[in-house]
Amino acid sequence: MSVLAPVLEPLTILIAEDSAADLLLLSTIIRRQGHQVLTASNGEEAVEVFTRERPQLVLMDALMPVMDGFEAVRRIKQLAGEALVPIIFLTSLRESEALAQCLDAGGDDFLPKPYNPLILAAKINAMDRLRRLQATVLQQRDLIARHHDYLLHEQRVAKAVFDKVAHSGCINAAPNIRYLQSPYALFNGDLLLAAYTPSGDMHVLLGDFTGHGLPAAVGAMPLAEVFYGMTAKGYGLTQILREMNAKLKRILPVDMFCCATLLCLSAQRRVVEVWNGGMPEGYVHEITTGKRTPLMSRHLPLGVLLAEAFDDRTEVWPMAVGDRVFLLSDGVLDTADANEQLFGAGRLRQVFAANREPDHLFEEIELALAAFRGEVRDDVSMVEITLQPGQSLRATGQLYADSGQSSPLDWSVSFEFRAETLKRYNPLPYLLQLLLEIHGLREQSGALYSVMAELYSNALEHGVLGLDSRLKRDAQGFAEYYRLRNDRLARLNSGYVRVHVQVVPTEVGGKMTLRIEDSGAGFDVEQVLARPLDIDRLSGRGLSLVRQLSSDVRWSDGGRSVCVEFSWEALA
């Protein structure tokens, strides 16, 4: 038995040979090597036995009666399909042409006569290794294909869910938003959200999570929830930012975070308030002058810092009707050409400079990217929001599910917010929630919120902080105004804003009186109200809005106290 190489695992081997002596010799050798043998004495029989028994390896004589080995091999290879069934030709053919014919027919090797058992065993083992390799490759290929299908299916489901969440806001409905986002940008970590506040301002978030694929997309859910929930309830950017940061910090692993630009575009106040943490700079584009003000990243991304270290300071820029805000993801700037050169901010500015028709900006950027790289990457996100007047106020009705039967109708409450609170707390969402317990007021929630927000910020900024609204008459003064506001607020150690709410039932329904007092110096009500409404673009707006939206506005105590009324009719 010394001539027999060790066998890994017994195989079933078909031998097709028309010479009885050779067949006996060969089958004996192979049986001795530990394999199981099937025999056939011509090609046709060989195909039959193969079809029936599916042997793992075939030894095939080339020249046989009835059907020769070449034809039999062609048929067997076809029957075997993708699986490798090695075929060794048994041959005393000597012409190279005849040997080539064996390979052409699908043979994998030759065994010359007279047989040498050692060579035979070695060849069978070698072919068996190939056969196993092929089987492993096929198995792994199928496994990979299955995993791939599974992954694609998961992504499709996840995308459908994410699309519902991410696009539940006004991103597609708002007439003043244009955006461009590749379909699977979410799986590259890009997130674009937009929603109206109760007073009709618009919040927009363009975010970019670290990483790719599903891990990059999972953070989008909680972020979108916070964004929509808090925007609808009337929270400002700083509260939303703090909540987003805290939530991401809590749930994301340390190496994951979200670069983001969050902005609040107010058509009523003609301003945009911006916070940029780690995103490429966007721009405010003044259409009349063509000036582009960069919205630079001044913060670390969301989800990096602990709440105590997080910086929620925003920048405020004036905007005129028709002005645009443009935001982009780093997919635009990081698009690389064949030489790994990046597109970069310089080339983007060239596109801006060459742009004549603002509506064609996206197409021009895409063209420039395509020309630079040859194709557009699939993680490019761009959004442009135009300031348009007359955004209608929205009732936040969908937030409430109760019938209104338990609505409180006769009550009053007073708050006093003092310096330390004024610095860091925005009481408006809480007050709005409280007032919307009154069923009859929900219809007017937008107006109510706008009026409350305006009066509160007047009380805080002009009253407690003593800021002069006339500062805001030009862009420079505008910036100065917000710088002073932050400064004075940071150093505030006395003063208050008081809010009194009184609700009483009336014959037809009910009436809510809201009085806001501040600790400031007051102002000459007669003189301010006498100013023409549009004398300065940026300042006078607040009061005219209040007067327009509430049924009655009265000042007292030298301008330190203001009172508005909202009334409603009982529901049928």
Partner: protein, 115 residues
Amino acid sequence: MAEIHLDPKVLSGLQEVMEGEYPKLLDTFLDDSQKRVEALRTARDDAKALGLIAHSFKGSSGNLGAVRLAELCRQLEDRSAKPVPVDLGELVDKIDQEFARVRPLYEHERQRFQL
């Protein structure tokens, strides 16, 4: 040059490989070869048929150590494939004679394993 008719080293190798099946292999070879020799005689004028039979006979006689017989079969196979027809009768006769010569040698070998 002395011609080898039967290579004894091949036979001892076969005996080692075949063990108990060795006598059966000898029987099979003798039986099979007898048929082929008769087939050659019958196909005497059919070059293509002669070539096929010779090819097969060459293989088995080579495996069984009938060196001269295998060589004659090779010559017949080669000549049968020549484009110009040649007289193959002489080679067929030589194969006939060679088989007649080795046959007793195999039978003698076979008798060593008489039950």
